[in-house]
C-alpha cells in the first residue's frame, strides 16, 4: 500500500501560538481516515499545510509524492478540498459556480460542461442546477461542495467537517456519498470532524489530535484496546441480584471491581473472566440473562484522551 500522505514532525506556529506541534501522519491509498479533535486542536491548520495553502514552520510533508509547499499546483491538481465554511458565489447558479471551478482547473469548455452535468447528477442537484446558490439550503450547499470537489476527479479528497450543521438525514446522505466515492472511484479520503459516531461508522482509521499533537492513531477497535490498558469490562444481567452473588463475583480471580446499576452488573477485570462469571451466576441459583464484553465507542475513547 503506497502512502498518499506522509508527514513528519509537522509544526506550525502563529505568532508564537502552537497550532500544530510535531505532528506525524500517514495515510495509505484507498483509506478513509478520520482526523478528530476538539475545536482549535489544529485540524484545519494541518489540512491547510497538506494543501500548500500555508507553509509549515518546520517538518516534512509529502502529499501524493509532492511537497505541497514547493509544488502546490501539482498537489492541488490531484487533491479535492471541501472547506469547513464553504462559500459559493451566491449570485451565480449552481452550474455557473461549478463551471468556474472547472475553468480554474483548465478543463476545456466542452469537457467542463459535460463534467458539471455529471457531478450534479451524482450529488442529486441536477434539477436545481440553474437556481441561484444564494437560495440553497445548508445541506444543498454542502452537496454542491462535494460536486465541486469531484469536478477535477481527484485522487485524494480532504473534507473539513463535512456534516457539521446539517440535519441527520442530510448528514447520512453525505456519509453514504463518501463511502461510495471510495468504493467506486478508489479515492483516498481524509475527513476531520468532531461528530464522533459518524466518523466511527465510516472511517478505517482515526487519528486523535489534541493541542497540535497526534495523541492516538489506529482503527476504532485498536484505540479501544489501548484505552482499556489491560482492563476488561463486562456487563452482566442476571434474573436475581443479591449481595451473595456480588460477593462471589468479587471473589473471582482477576476481578478488580464490581458495580451495580439497576439490574446491570459491571465487572472490571484484568483478564477475560467470562466463563467464571457465568459459572458464578448459575451456581448462585439465579439465571444468566446476558453476559457481554463491553466495546468502547469512539466517544468514550475520545473522552478518555481528553480527561487525561
Amino acid at each position: 500500500m503506497s502512502l498518499v500522505v506522509e508527514a513528519k514532525g509537522l509544526k506550525k506556529y502563529y505568532d508564537g501560538v502552537k497550532a500544530v506541534d510535531g505532528l506525524d501522519l500517514e495515510i495509505g491509498e484507498g483509506e478513509i481516515y478520520g482526523l478528530l479533535g476538539p475545536n482549535g486542536a489544529g485540524k484545519t491548520t494541518t489540512i491547510l499545510i497538506l494543501l500548500g495553502l500555508t507553509e509549515p514552520t518546520a517538518g516534512e510533508v509529502k502529499v501524493l509524492g509532492y511537497n505541497p509547499a514547493r509544488e502546490p499546483l501539482k498537489v492541488k491538481r490531484l487533491t479535492g478540498y471541501l472547506p469547513e465554511n464553504l462559500g459559493f458565489y451566491d449570485d451565480l447558479s449552481a452550474r455557473e459556480n461549478l463551471l468556474y471551478t472547472a475553468y480554474l482547473n483548465r478543463i476545456p469548455e466542452r469537457e467542463a460542461k459535460k463534467r458539471v452535468a455529471e457531478v450534479l447528477e451524482i450529488v442529486g442537484l441536477s434539477d436545481v442546477a440553474e437556481r441561484r446558490v444564494g437560495a440553497f439550503s445548508r445541506g444543498m450547499r454542502q452537496r454542491l461542495g462535494i460536486a465541486d470537489v469531484l469536478l477535477k476527479d481527484p485522487k485524494f479528497v480532504i473534507l473539513d467537517e463535512p456534516t457539521s450543521g446539517i440535519d441527520p438525514e442530510g448528514a447520512q446522505q453525505i456519509l453514504e456519498m463518501i463511502v461510495r466515492l471510495r468504493e467506486e472511484k478508489g479515492m483516498t479520503i481524509m475527513l476531520s470532524s468532531h461528530l464522533l459516531h459518524q466518523v466511527q461508522r465510516i472511517c478505517d482509521r482515526v487519528g486523535i489530535i489534541h493541542q497540535g499533537k497526534l495523541v492516538a492513531q489506529g482503527s476504532v477497535g485498536e484505540l479501544g484496546a489501548v484505552v482499556e490498558e489491560g482492563q476488561h469490562l463486562f456487563e452482566v444481567r442476571a434474573s436475581r441480584v443479591d449481595e451473595a452473588l456480588l460477593d462471589t463475583l468479587r471473589g473471582i480471580e482477576g476481578v478488580t471491581s464490581v458495580e451495580v446499576e439497576g439490574d446491570l452488573i459491571r465487572v472490571k477485570a484484568t483478564e477475560d473472566v467470562r466463563p467464571r462469571i457465568a459459572r458464578a451466576v448459575i451456581e448462585s441459583g439465579a439465571e444468566l440473562v446476558e453476559l457481554k464484553g463491553h466495546t468502547y465507542t469512539l466517544e468514550e475513547i475520545y473522552l478518555r484522551y481528553f480527561q487525561e
Binding site: Y14, T44, L48, L51, L53, T54, L73, K74, K76, R77, T79, G80, Y81, P83, E84, N85, L86, G87, F88, Y89, D90, D91, Y100, T101, Y103, L104, N105, R106, G145, D148, K152
Partner: protein, 308 residues
C-alpha cells in the same frame, strides 16, 4: 488566469453598482459636453482642435467633462475594487478557489486586469459617445491630430482610474470588512479631490505669505510650493497631464509658463511636445498605481488563508 479574468469582468459589467456609476458619469459627462458643444457652435466653428474642447470647455454652469471625470472617475475605480478580496474572505470562497490549481497571484492579477478592462470599456464608450454628440452638433468629423490626442486622453484616464482601482483592491486586502475599506477609499478620495487643494494653499501661505507689495519672487515661490504639494495628489497629476494633452497650446503650469504665454504667441504644440511637458506627471501616475498594486500583492501573498 483567463478564467479569473473573464469571470471578474462579467461580474463587473453585470453588477448594479458599475451600471449605476457608468450611467451617472455618462449622463453628467454627456450633458456637460452637450452644453460645451452648444457654446462652441456659436463662436468659432473653424478653430483647430474643436473636438478636444468638448472635453475641457464648460458651459451653462456645469463643469467640463474633464473636471467631472477627475472628480467622479475615482469613485468608479474604487467601487470596482473596494471589496475585491475581503468579500471573498467573508463569503468563504477564498479557500475553495485557492485550493484549485492556480497560483495565488493569478487571482489578484486577474481581478486587477478585469477591473482595468471594465474601466477601459466605460471610459472608451463615454468618449466615443461624446465625440458622436460633437459630430451631430458641429457637423464635421474630427481630424487625425484630434483623434490621437483623444486616444492619449483615454490612456491617461484609464491609468488614473486604474490607480483608484488598485487603491480599492489594496484596502480590500488590508481591511477585513467591506464597509471599512469602502469608507477608507472614500476618505482618501475626498482628501485628494478637496482637502489637499486647501492644504496646499494653506502651506504655501505659511511658507511664502503674499501681502500687498511683495516681490514677484515671493509670488513665484508661493505658487511653486503650492504646486509641489499638489503633485502628491493623483487628481492634480491627472488634471495637469490631461490639460496638456487636450489643450495643445498648453505649455505647463506655474508662473514661468504664465509669463511666457504673455510674450510668446500661443500656437499649438505637436503631440510629442505636449507629452514631453507632462511626462513627469504621467510617470507619477503610473508609479502611484504600481506602488499600490505592489503593496497589495505583497500583503496578499503573505496572508494566511483561514476560513475561520
Amino acid at each position: 488566469m483567463n478564467a479569473v479574468f473573464w469571470k471578474e469582468l462579467a461580474d463587473h459589467l453585470g453588477s448594479k453598482r458599475f451600471v449605476i456609476f457608468f450611467f451617472l458619469i455618462l449622463i453628467v459627462g454627456g450633458a456637460s459636453a452637450y452644453l460645451a458643444a452648444q457654446a462652441l457652435f456659436g463662436q468659432e466653428t473653424e478653430s483647430e482642435y474643436i473636438y478636444l474642447r468638448l472635453f475641457t470647455v464648460s458651459g451653462g454652469g456645469l463643469p467640463s467633462f474633464l473636471g467631472f471625470l477627475a472628480f467622479f472617475g475615482p469613485l468608479i475605480g474604487v467601487v470596482l475594487g473596494f471589496d475585491a478580496i475581503n468579500s471573498e474572505f467573508n463569503r468563504g470562497t477564498v479557500s475553495r478557489v485557492l485550493s484549485q490549481p492556480i497560483y495565488r497571484d493569478w487571482w489578484i492579477n486577474g481581478k486587477f486586469l478585469a477591473g482595468l478592462t471594465a474601466l477601459g470599456i466605460a471610459v472608451a464608450s463615454i468618449i466615443l459617445i461624446i465625440v458622436g454628440l460633437g459630430l451631430y452638433i458641429l457637423g464635421f468629423p474630427p481630424g487625425g491630430a484630434e483623434i490621437s490626442r483623444a486616444a492619449m486622453f483615454f490612456v491617461i484616464s484609464v491609468v488614473y482610474l486604474g490607480f483608484w482601482l488598485s487603491l480599492g483592491i489594496l484596502f480590500s486586502i488590508v481591511f477585513r470588512q467591506t464597509a471599512t475599506s469602502a469608507l477608507a477609499s472614500i476618505a482618501l478620495w475626498l482628501f485628494f479631490t478637496l482637502f489637499l487643494y486647501m492644504l496646499a494653499g494653506l502651506i504655501a501661505d505659511q511658507v511664502a505669505p503674499i501681502k500687498p507689495g511683495v516681490s514677484a519672487d515671493v509670488f513665484a515661490k508661493h505658487e511653486s510650493i503650492r504646486d509641489l504639494v499638489l503633485r502628491f495628489s493623483p487628481v492634480a497629476l491627472y488634471e495637469e497631464a490631461t490639460t496638456a494633452i487636450l489643450i495643445p497650446s498648453y505649455r505647463g503650469l506655474g508662473i514661468a509658463a504664465l509669463l511666457q504665454e504673455a510674450t510668446i504667441p500661443t500656437s499649438p504644440l505637436p503631440l510629442g511636445q505636449s507629452l514631453l511637458i507632462v511626462w513627469p506627471q504621467l510617470v507619477g501616475l503610473v508609479a502611484l498605481t504600481s506602488v499600490c498594486f505592489a503593496i497589495s500583492y505583497v500583503i496578499f501573498m503573505r496572508r494566511e488563508i483561514r476560513s475561520t
